[in-house]
Symmetry: C2
Subunit: 353 residues, 2 copies
Amino acid sequence: MAGEMVVRILPVIMSGGSGTRLWPLSTDRRPKQFHALGGECAMIVETAMRVRGRHGNLDFLDPVIIAGERHAELVSSQLADAGIVPAATVLEPVARNTAATAAVAALVAAELDPEALVLLLPADHVVADPAAFIGAIALAAPVASGHIVTFGIAPTGPETGYGYIHQGGTLAPGVHRVAAFKEKPDLSVARRYIEEGGYSWNSGVFMFRPDVMIEEMETGSADILAGAREALRTASRTDAEIRLGRKAFHAVRAEPVDIAVMEKTSRAAVVPCSIGWADIGSWAELWRFSPKDQAGNAVSGPVTILDGENNLVRSDGVHVSIAGVSDLIVVATADGILILPRDRAQDVKKLIP
Amino acid sequence: MAGEMVVRILPVIMSGGSGTRLWPLSTDRRPKQFHALGGECAMIVETAMRVRGRHGNLDFLDPVIIAGERHAELVSSQLADAGIVPAATVLEPVARNTAATAAVAALVAAELDPEALVLLLPADHVVADPAAFIGAIALAAPVASGHIVTFGIAPTGPETGYGYIHQGGTLAPGVHRVAAFKEKPDLSVARRYIEEGGYSWNSGVFMFRPDVMIEEMETGSADILAGAREALRTASRTDAEIRLGRKAFHAVRAEPVDIAVMEKTSRAAVVPCSIGWADIGSWAELWRFSPKDQAGNAVSGPVTILDGENNLVRSDGVHVSIAGVSDLIVVATADGILILPRDRAQDVKKLIP
């Protein structure tokens, strides 16, 4: 359809998380997106590097970053070190969940380049197959001028930690209507989804033309859109930095974009894809996704392991020496030292001092 | 016997160990005697505080410290902080085992106060009942002008990690001749010792008048005594600090005083005693001797434990958070982080980076 026509894509990277499930690496001061987890660079840098340059008729523009105000310096220094120059950095004075961020993304994109397609993506996801991701974006592009396209990850098992997307009829090659969004299921339901087929994991990545998102929010979540507009109207702007109006943004209703928009709109689409995606939400998950030695140990930093299997061991600096323990998570940073069995990774929050 | 007569006792504290079995706390740069293990203060300070002042007719003099040259500053700063002023600090340029140190102790004591009784004691032992120790010293005193008195610890079990002393006939109230020194036994032999009775652990603490030790060394280990004399003759002395002659002390034969002197002399005596003594040679032993919470955890420093039992957890600074592990040793210092099961404490040496 698009033929030789160049499609401009504006990546908008959401650096909103403050995940403490990866303490002591991830802290409120420096959440996981500012650490290297799945790759060589910090996740936010890997995210930006994944969607840049020209691929076929896709032209990725300099990204917009939406981040917490307190992480402004981290964002600018980490991106600068990687040679990435954001088109704009939007700073939120407080976290107000993803609907508010999506509204800000659409409004800022409409200012910058109303014809470009917004690719709204979290800063803290792993994509092991970036070429496949670009391929999925190419499939989504022809549809994204009239739909909000989600990326549905082909399940590798009956995961209970993700939401699911049930796909409907075909909209375009490789793109389906969304029949339904499903909340995180229990194990038996997840198994049924896998058996039935036509279900994929909701990756939380969205692609849309700004006016489509704005129209859908005007219908379903007008208050959030109005709040975001007011926060932008009262923002302080210097160079490419936009500090959202504090009072206005505080007042915005906090809701996930999935609930505020996606479950209400009739214009939701999904591109089922296999891109090596993961939202690493726990140390146990990181162990699963990490390369391991012959004994199954995933190691990072100065570490000695004697007679131990299937451990995740990370150190930021001090040498860690381990003998005779298996299936353990050991993480040592200047902020703390965590030790617990892999199958108790969900207890991290109880252990933060 | 001694009636009202005051007995002067010169403590000579041997700070020779460089135990790495307690890595990462104990390091060559700062061995265990310079850390608090059994008490509130560093072990060398606790050792000095245990034997000072006046107790009945025992008058403890300011101590002599014999330490490794590289620990000179640690010795002076730790003792100064505790208000202890050594009569002399002797610095060994290299470790030459305890016979050389005992020879130096006797020769220096003969200079300082030839009539005082030397109490030669390692800097890194725990004595949980210091009053009982003073009592044992009081029993030893009347005999120590003519014998080399050892302190035999009443066994609390068939330990295989200590040498044993087999006691002979009575010399004085509470003091026996030594029938034999026994090397570290295997478990069945240790059990036999306990059943038979009359055996005690060799604590490595000795009491003697300088001339007695010098005479016994002249007979049995004349070369070591001569080497120590030469090291003192060629020492550089400033105030109360004696730096042994480097060349001379290097040349001294390295042998334990037990072999060089005690097993040869006919003037060995033993005071069997129960003083809460321990030579903490491993993290597993430290756990055994440490106060514990209701779950059996021995904790030191900023530590959170959730659902874990019988662990030893120490941190010098960084907060350690642990869940769901038991019978583990966890030690975190700026030099390293050690994690291993209590029953593998002997593997520490393999884990030092």
